[in-house]
Symmetry: C2
């Protein structure tokens, strides 16, 4: 079994419809608890496995209310409203009765129609032409992705090397490779290290508080990518009073915009950068 | 009383803590039901009025699950988790037992620290130099805002006039003027007409399904704006399979980025633009 599928594995509670039991996977361990992208993907997976599911994902918002401890968790899913072409869900992930994560999800039955992409895929050399990341990475989940940084790599442990803008651009795919689906796309939209690291050129305490993915891809678009690379880009828009936002986009190699994503991140700049 | 405050007025249910009763305001009527920005602001207002409130808004996501009918509604607020510096809420707006809107809100106690804005305020002539909107507007809520379109005005009822990109840029403030606060900022992030109208140069069926605001402003930033103008800009990133996304930003006149916002919108292009 692929480690991503293992991390997402859930057991439906036969006594309580919509309730699922899971456990964190050491393969996706982050600084504290699991990689947030995998938590988002697990919540999405719960609904996509639900017998009442109506449509494909169009929008997912996940709020990281507290740390997820290593071990078991339970997910509660509620189909709040089902319309003809859309379905709205609310979700919670809890451990020992305490809510660690809340989420909302919109599914839709989509139809063909006028289409256009304004956010054009930036130019980038092919993934084969870009060096792989160094193997000496401090977080286990980073090893689960093949990342080829075209611009804005992860700061190393040397002296801080600040940057004037926070943009990172990279090729990314699962490692080992895996057929792209909505869950892995939801996780990959969170593959970017915190933008404040890029700006200040150093690591610091940081954590996503809320995360949103808009799915532009329909299933045929995911099938067309297969196990291939995605071009991913993220940028911060405003840093201040302990938080920054990040806007991100993931394109198929042919330029189709598969997903756009946004998040708000807590960060604590080193003392050299002023109070706080 | 200002019409915005009247629209947001709620009565706390003394029998059920966290439950609030309200009613739609004709002053903010949209095509069907109220302007979505006012619904978002009302949900935010409920939490900001709650005795357990801890901090100021940093992120709000509102999901429009079904139409809000003209008349009374009830809002349920739950403080899911309160940490030292953040508080996570879940909210629902219901009418006659049916959920019309769900939302999540993150509050935070913010602190000073390193700050920078990457999304720089675009150049624009001052609001006094830009013509006011025509008075013959078909939706009541449009009259509640003074909008001065610098780029990308609302299409008129003449022959379709398509545009190559979906950007709209305008000066906006409440009409009559009102001191900016978190609730009015949340509403103003939704002040943009649907981006598909701009691209195809004509009106069509469209509705927001999910809406997110990231608040970069702290209270002193709002006080500094006072009753002044904001420069607001929105752009679509991808249109396809019946949905488009929109990313937006609102700046104070001095260039401070007060809020960034994102939404996913259902739309139905006229038959001239292909199937669907």
């Amino acid at each position: 079994m692929h480690p991503f599928d293992d991390a997402l594995a859930l057991t439906a509670d036969s006594q309580a419809p919509g309730r699922y039991l899971g456990r964190t996977s050491p393969a996706y361990a982050n600084m504290v608890g699991p990689f947030g992208g995998v938590t988002a993907a697990t919540l999405l997976h719960a609904v996509l496995s639900h017998p009442d599911r109506h449509g494909d994902p169009v929008a997912l918002t996940v709020n990281y209310a507290g740390a997820v401890a290593d071990g078991e968790f339970e997910i509660t899913t509620v189909a709040v409203r089902t319309n003809r072409s859309t379905q709205h869900w609310t979700l919670q992930l809890a451990q020992g009765g305490a809510v660690a994560t809340t989420a909302t999800l919109v599914l839709a039955v989509r139809r063909d129609g006028w289409a256009d992409t304004e956010l054009v895929r930036p130019a980038a050399p092919g993934p084969e032409a870009v060096p792989a990341m160094p193997e000496a990475l401090p977080l286990e989940w980073l090893h689960r992705y093949d990342m080829r940084f075209v611009h804005g790599p992860i700061p190393d442990s040397g002296p801080p090397s600040p940057a004037r803008d926070s943009t990172t651009r990279l090729w990314v795919r699962d490692r080992p490779v895996r057929q792209l689906d909505f869950t892995s796309l939801a996780a990959m939209c969170d593959v970017f290290y915190p933008r404040a690291f890029r700006r200040l050129g150093t690591w610091m305490a940081a954590g996503t508080v809320t995360y949103t993915v808009y799915f532009h891809a329909v299933p045929a678009d995911l099938d067309a990518v297969g196990e291939g690379w995605l071009l991913a880009q993220a940028r911060g828009q405003r840093f201040g009073s302990g938080y920054f936002d990040q806007t991100a986009a993931l394109w198929a190699p042919d330029g189709l915009l598969l997903a756009t994503s946004h998040q708000l991140v807590y960060f604590k700049a080193p003392a050299a950068h002023g109070p706080g």
